[in-house]
């Protein structure tokens, strides 16, 4: 579904992805963790070319992301992206937020887009917030609208960039619950997160990144009980103790 072949990325002089090899299967849930600045956000931002890569090959569902001739609209329509800061459109209601792209990109008629929007918002537990503006919603609710916005495009892949890091602790679970349900339904997901409980319980594999390298990737049971690299051990000891 997603394949990185020796992917390199530079920000000016800074080498942020150093030869990433990674293959994600359909319906797989991959959690990516690592210290801040390790390149994990950049890794998933490359997948829908929010960041272009400079070297290597990146293939998503037979589309070549590294090729500038690839139809990016088509690629992005297949990939939902959830940001740490939600990035909802503040001048639109929840329903308008989730129907804009389906109407403009998928060319769905308004009625259909709204029916679908209502259905998906209902599914993430916001059936009563359709006509609220983002400023009237809590952080957890906003992030669920943001997930719904991605889902309304009927994507094949959902990417999450630290979706719970900007949330108050009591709101984290409502967002993770939505993500758990998605995983159960067989969505292909890459989740950058520090929620190790989520990784253990939901993911098929956990990857550890540091200094732009993918140091370790393994099923959660193995990843948490027998981490191979020293840096993974150090990282886990830091985040699992608190």
């Amino acid at each position: 579904m997603i394949e990185f072949k020796d992917v390199h990325k530079w920000f000016g002089e800074l080498h942020v992805l150093k030869g990433i090899h990674l293959k994600v299967d359909p319906a797989e849930v991959l959690v990516v963790c690592g210290p801040s600045g390790s390149g994990k956000s950049t890794l998933i931002r490359c997948i829908n070319r929010l960041e272009p890569i400079q070297k290597g090959e990146l293939i998503v569902d037979t589309m070549k992301v590294h090729d500038s001739k690839t139809n990016m609209t088509k690629l992005r329509a297949e990939i939902g992206f959830v940001f740490q800061q939600f990035n909802l459109y503040p001048h639109m209601t929840a329903l308008q937020n989730v129907t804009l792209a389906p109407m403009k990109v998928r060319k769905l008629p308004k009625k259909e887009a709204e029916d679908q929007g209502r259905y998906v918002l209902e599914k993430v537990g916001l059936g009563d917030k359709l006509h609220q503006f983002p400023a009237q919603l809590s952080g957890g609710q906003q992030q669920r609208v943001a997930i719904a916005r991605g889902l309304c495009m009927r994507p094949k892949i959902m990417l999450f960039d630290e979706p719970t890091s900007a949330l108050d602790p009591e709101m984290i679970n409502e967002v993770l619950e939505v993500m758990r349900n998605l995983a159960r339904e067989g969505m292909t997901m890459i989740v950058v997160t520090h929620e190790m409980g989520f990784a253990r319980e939901v993911s098929h594999r956990v990857a550890f990144m540091d200094f732009g390298e993918l140091l370790e990737i393994a099923p959660p049971a193995e990843f948490f009980s027998h981490p191979k690299s020293e840096r993974t051990k150090l990282f886990l000891s830091k985040i699992l103790t608190h």
């Binding site: 088509k74 992005r76 804009l100 400023a135």
Partner: protein, 224 residues
Amino acid sequence: MWGYYIEQLIHSLPFFLQGLWMTIAVSGLSLIMGTVIGFIWGIIRASRSRIAKAVIGAWVDIIRGTPFLVQIFIIFFIMPEFGIQLEAFPAAVIALTNLASCFICEIVSAGIQAVPWGQKEAATSTGLNWFQQLRYVIMPQSMRVVLPPLVGQYVLLIKDSSVVSAIGVSDVTRVGWLTVQRIPQGLLVFGLVAILYFVICYPLIQLSSILEKRMSAGYTRGKE
């Protein structure tokens, strides 16, 4: 004495109204065209295309850094030497349109840049193209920042339009100059001129401050 002059002035009122009409025509046309061009320039200036950005930026700086009177002289008196001969009215409209475009360009590009980058990324990642992002996501948000100073700029430009009297456009300022030669009461004549400008500008000043209040109220419409 004053009574006599006032009577004279009342007799020339139609003349003043013609001047007012000319002021409205010159500034109205320039503001409409300047708004269209200014938005296009502003959008380009806030975009990523380096060359277009630099060209527009340099032009805006030149126009903002030179007196309007000099600009209008160049268009009206100096361009003919290069074979571009213009009547006073089109010369005035072109000069004022250009001035309006430059100021509006700055307001619009600042407004676009005030929209958080994450909005653009969110729109990009759902597959919206450049124009759709601008139309549905960026511009509606930047209008909150753009509208109050835009209307304020209109007021400044309407007042700047008085400069076109210098090349013989019979706007309300020029009517004042002509009248004061017959009615040697500067205070009275230019008092009337000032009032006529004020009558157009005051509603816009009010509009600008209403917009400012409303736009800063936050995205809370519909809140109980």
